[in-house]
Symmetry: C2
């Protein structure tokens, strides 16, 4: 079950949906010997290195056509899907796209949507190899991506003594979403708006970190949730140093204006699609930003070190669009 | 793009949706060397034998919860998905299920739905290895199945001189759908109703025919459409002998009552999920029914031989539920 929280819509609902995933994970353990990872990772994994992820996106729940063009939407949803492949340290090979078309979607919209998909699939050499086209009262789509890696990165390999890293600023995509929804000036939030509309799946960065990383996840659900998954799946204690979380100036500005604490904002802001990973030591790599934001210790759970104190934090989930 | 017509909803719409598939097929040719078949087959195919299919099913378009229990629905949709794997002569390995949950779907419904999936995945030794759970105003689901075959069967291998075979009666599922929708007596249409609610994916039959078959498709869209695909993809002329199409007594009874011609009914009745295949000669195989219903010739197109005449037939599509 991939991307558990990001698609869990509305904080009130999250409990019920987590319950479904726990139920499924218990009920459907891995049985076939060809499979090495089933429910619980960003993608399922075959022993020979194939990784496969599937994600659904629906109008009003996952995107808002008021400020998303069809091109944006194609790009954004493909980025989210490829991000799961990046989180496994894998190369994308093929995508299958199942479109649920409502009455308002014509051929022009479909061409634009595929222009958006193609912008990324071309860049990352991923074929579009099939799918399905169905009629549905609600417009939406499901993307399945197949990738491959010699040794896929998992959520479960973090070791005490490792550090926690992230490939870029966090919270920027959510700031962009708020700015776009609120019709703020584009000149005030250019990076944030771009990050929400055109996030970059970290395929190239995944190649650079994979020989160092012990565990990895993509930040789709907010730092608290994503880091919690690493801690839980690895059976370790992860401590995030609040003072080490980098705050992008546009996130700082938005939080100041809305009287929000930037750290709290970042703990629950999703869809940045950065890589959050653990490694014994991450050397400087040319052309890539990496921030060290925490450490892995013996024990269990997720903690935030702030003002000389460590407090336990729970996944805050991420309430999507609505 | 799998199962082209079955999901094309409403005959008026079919033209537009076929247009989308033609557009996509032209726009996204196979590029990666690891892939042997992309858009145009029942499943995409990797050179090392993995086959992957994805299918979406939505409330009111693809099923009717008035007479489908959640168990039925899980069974039916998994059968449809596994049928694509059978059509490739492959063994299923893993399924990823993306659920779009509307407000009315609670935990009990979800358990029943997965009971339905599990009835078939257990039987055919297919793991349920992940998926996604999202909120959507319309209840629906997308199933991705990964299978493997040494030499996947394609739609494109029919050769002049081959015969056309089908693994069972056709039209029975559609007769069952009409009988269930019309609230006809169950004792009058037991086989038909069972076929609509609990179709059997022809995984075992696929194993038995795959060493003889030159091309194969599953009958999801009506005989005219499915046979047309074989003729088109293989670049041959296929002639169906109307007198050789077996008519199940319940199909005959329903057609008589509704003043329909049984042959015409079968040409457009979908969702039987039988295997329609071509072979030089199909020997008798223990425990399996096979009907020879036509022949493959040099030329192009699909023809029906009836009353001493041969007439060209076009895909009649298959108008789903509504």
């Amino acid at each position: 079950m991939q991307r558990k929280q990001r698609k869990m819509s509305g904080k009130k609902k999250a409990k019920g949906e987590l319950e479904i995933i726990r139920y499924l994970r218990k009920r459907f353990p891995k049985r076939r010997s060809e499979i090495s990872e089933g429910i619980g990772e960003d993608a399922m994994v075959f022993r020979d290195g194939y990784v496969i992820t599937t994600d659904s996106f629906f109008d009003k729940t996952h995107f808002d056509l008021e400020y998303f063009s069809f091109f944006n939407l194609g790009y954004h949803t493909m980025a989210a899907s490829l991000s799961d492949i990046a989180a496994m340290g894998a190369s994308p090979l093929a995508a299958l796209i199942s479109l649920c078309i409502s009455k308002k979607i014509g051929m022009t919209a479909i061409r634009e949507l595929y222009d958006g998909f193609a912008e990324l699939t071309r860049k990352y050499r991923c074929d579009i190899s099939g799918g399905d086209i169905v009629k549905c009262p609600t417009f939406g789509l499901t993307i399945t991506v197949i990738g491959r890696a010699k040794a896929p990165l998992l959520r479960s390999g973090a070791k005490p003594g490792n550090s926690l890293y992230v490939t870029n600023f966090l919270g920027l995509a959510e700031a962009g979403r708020i700015a776009l929804k609120g019709k703020f000036k584009e000149t005030e939030y250019p990076d944030a708006m771009k990050k929400h509309l055109f996030p970059e799946p970290r395929i190239k960065e995944a190649f650079k970190i994979r020989k160092y990383a012990t565990s990895c996840i993509d930040t789709s659900d907010g730092l608290s949730t994503d880091a919690f998954h690493l801690a839980e799946e690895s059976g370790v204690r992860i401590v995030i140093d609040a003072s080490h979380i980098p705050i992008h100036s546009e996130v700082g500005k938005l939080c100041a204006m809305q009287h929000k604490d930037p750290t709290e904002f970042i703990l629950s802001a999703g869809e940045d699609f950065e890589l959050l990973f653990t490694a014994p030591k991450m050397p400087k790599v040319a052309g890539m930003t990496v921030f060290k934001i925490g450490r892995v210790m013996k024990g269990r759970g997720l903690f935030l070190a702030q003002d000389g104190q460590e407090r336990s934090i729970r996944p805050r989930g991420y309430s999507h669009v609505n």
